[in-house]
């Protein structure tokens, strides 16, 4: 085990054991990744279930992004555990009064669902590649077909039905997974900053905007890299989605903060000292002003002015980057901010982020960006843009 080097300086009065901030930057990364999973899946479902045709160009990218992020979701948790080798204790013998105990089931269910949906979405591609390619790659594709080479119209219709129902089932799955992450924090009565009924919903809406924003960035970047024309209608569709959801996210977060201040329960003075002091920049400036309100205004302006072309792409991509950053700051302000306010209600702590080691920011950054590299690797094997005949078949089958 590592030596203890991360105790937190404090002001005021804090309980002695609080001087070690136990949930580090890794636990910030964890809900951020689950948020991306839920958000990306939302885009996939908007096309697959609700028939938002303009999101078609990113539908498969959304599915793959969700899958890649989901594969890495357990990693920060495993890295954080004191005994990662005992990780399955909570799944094998779950203590059912614990919100955390159901994570294993939720995660497993959702990963399996994503894998099955991805398989159906890429089945024709697997068949095509299995028949065309030789060698190891060909063999891999033949294994992935699971022996099913039927790509007739009826089989395609059958596949489309599966995709539809899996996407339908995935909506409560993905959103439940992330709502649960919010519940892990919101259900704790020990911390005033966390203890809120709105927390799961706030997590959910911020998740959606982060996932949709991720897709904007990935789509625009991939089009640039592939030197392909960017589908403006698609980018606009994603921008509308961000615009709609960001308003709800902002409203909910504002309501929660207003509740906290208005109720003015014991310890609110310290909370106010915190938010107007050390949290002023990360909370009001970075999370709200730059990360949420500015993108909302910019998107509103572009929608109002019917901006098109290069200006639209640059504007929406900028907003998307800011929203992703804002949601990361929201996770940070919840996870770290909550622990920086003492349970005594009379003191504030300062989290000193480590650089190296299991709880260090380098490893956390690696985990944060790992899904991106996973996606780059996976998209070589399962191209998100280049199996047109199948997507056409899915659309026609619906």
């Amino acid at each position: 085990m590592e030596a203890l080097t991360h105790f937190a300086p404090y002001t005021g009065w804090v309980y002695p054991n609080e001087t070690v901030i136990e949930w580090s930057v890794l636990i910030v990364v964890y809900p951020y990744l689950t948020g991306l999973v839920a958000g990306a899946f939302t885009v996939s479902s908007l096309y697959q279930v609700f028939g938002f045709e303009r999101l078609k160009p990113v539908a498969h990218l959304a599915l793959l992004s969700s899958l890649c992020a989901m594969i890495f979701v357990p990693i920060p948790l495993l890295l954080h555990l004191g005994h990662p080798e005992r990780a399955f204790n909570s799944t094998i013998t779950p203590h059912l009064t614990s919100a955390m105990a159901v994570f294993g089931y939720f995660a497993t269910f959702y990963i399996v669902l994503l894998l099955i949906e991805t398989w159906f979405a890429y089945r024709t591609y697997f068949v095509e590649q299995a028949q065309r390619r030789q060698g190891l790659l060909g063999r891999a594709y033949r294994v992935l077909t699971l022996g099913s080479y039927d790509v007739s119209e009826n089989a395609m219709r059958y596949d489309a039905k599966w995709i539809f129902y899996l996407a339908l089932l995935g909506i409560p799955g993905a959103h439940g997974l992330h709502g649960y992450a919010g519940f892990v924090f919101g259900s704790l009565k020990s911390r005033e900053w966390w203890s809120s009924d709105l927390m799961p919903v706030i997590f959910l809406f911020s998740a959606i905007i982060s996932g949709v924003s991720l897709l904007v960035v990935l789509y625009v970047a991939s089009c640039k890299l592939r030197k392909v024309t960017i589908d403006e209608a698609c980018v606009k569709g994603l921008a509308y989605t961000i615009w709609g959801f960001i308003m709800v996210a902002l409203l909910l977060e504002g309501l929660e903060f207003a509740n906290l201040v208005y109720k003015g329960r014991e310890g609110v003075e310290v909370i106010m000292e915190f938010v107007t002091g050390r949290l002023l920049v990360p909370y009001f400036i970075l999370q709200f002003a730059i990360g949420s309100i500015f993108p909302l205004l910019l998107l509103s302006w572009m929608i109002w002015r019917k901006t098109t072309g290069r200006a639209l792409i640059i504007g929406v991509t900028t907003c998307a980057c800011l929203v992703m950053f804002s949601v990361f700051m929201m996770r940070w302000n919840v996870v770290i901010g909550g622990q920086e306010i003492s349970k005594t209600g009379k003191g504030l702590l300062t989290y000193n982020m480590l650089t190296f080691g299991r709880e260090g920011w380098i490893l956390a950054a690696c985990v944060l960006f790992a899904p991106l590299f996973g996606l780059i690797g996976l998209s070589r094997f399962l191209p998100p843009f280049e199996h047109g005949p199948h997507t056409a078949a899915v659309t026609s089958a619906r």
Partner: protein
């Protein structure tokens, strides 16, 4: 559906059925290897009438409880030292199974100045993070009121730590003590977050959470917790509520006692006398 497709679909359904069957069988095998029935018992409430595998100790015959008479505490911190030694608690200023808080009201001030032995000023006075004493920091100030409050795990009736533990590694015993199974805890620290009293900490060396057990290894042998034994003024009272003449029964009966943070609904089992409005 045409003639070509039907068999294919049937074959696919059969394949999926087989896959489902295989998954069920696999799960059963893994489950039996993991010994579900044995370990699952840990996550359930303690069975009535069950006993620990200890000779001469029946946990159904006791209901342990703890009292703190803050009017007696002199802040000598022998309890903290005794606890660290008895329970092999990390000798630093960040891990405590028990601690003592000092509340000082200076003239003209409305709220107390609060510190504990882990405060950097007090550590500087002791000269080491492994030794504890309260620095005489108010010697030149006009003190209106001052008192000490010993703190420890409250072994709540409805412990939030037990509620949130994902594995059931922390549990409430039949005799009223909240314990942690260090062989089963995986160190997620959710319980540390859930405890409103800051009574839990993470042991980095062992990779598990830790907290006061009321010296369970001692009380089940008829001894007192180490902190109670070490207290020179009788500020810490421990005993069995099932014995109406035990020190704790008399303490609760003869005093107007209160608990910390009752609004949490945790129903703490450490009873206080002589604490003030600012003690949480």
């Amino acid at each position: 559906m045409n003639q070509e497709t039907k068999p294919t679909l049937a074959a696919r359904r059969a394949f999926l059925n087989k896959l489902g069957l295989a998954a069920t069988c696999g799960g059963a095998v893994v489950g039996s290897l993991a010994g579900i029935p044995v370990v699952a018992a840990k996550t359930e409430p303690v069975s009535k009438g069950g006993t620990l595998p200890l000779k001469d100790y029946d946990w159904t015959k006791h209901q342990w409880s703890f009292g703190v008479d803050a009017t007696k505490c002199i802040g000598c911190l022998r309890c903290v030292e005794a606890c660290k030694v008895e329970n092999n608690v990390v000798r630093d200023a960040h891990h405590f199974r028990t601690w003592v808080e000092r509340y000082v009201y200076l003239e003209g001030e409305n709220s107390a100045r609060i510190d504990s032995q882990q405060d950097p000023v007090n550590i500087a006075a002791s000269g080491s993070e492994a030794e504890y004493r309260f620095a005489n920091r108010y010697q030149d100030a006009k003190v209106e009121k001052a008192f000490f409050v010993p703190k420890l795990c409250n072994h709540c009736e409805h412990p939030a730590c037990v509620q949130v533990c994902p594995t059931g590694a922390t549990y409430k015993t039949e005799d009223g003590v909240v314990l942690i199974d260090h062989e089963y805890c995986f160190g997620c620290r959710y319980c540390v977050q859930a405890c409103p009293y800051g009574a839990r900490f993470f042991n980095e060396e062992k990779g598990v959470t830790d907290k006061c057990t009321w010296c369970y290894h001692r009380i089940t042998k008829g001894l007192q917790p180490a902190c109670v034994d070490a207290c020179p003024v009788g500020a810490r009272i421990f005993g069995d509520l099932k014995d109406k003449q035990s020190p704790i029964s008399l303490f609760i009966r003869n005093n107007r006692v209160q608990v910390l943070k009752p609004e949490t609904g945790n129903a703490p089992n450490v009873y206080y006398v002589g604490i003030d409005k600012e003690v949480r």
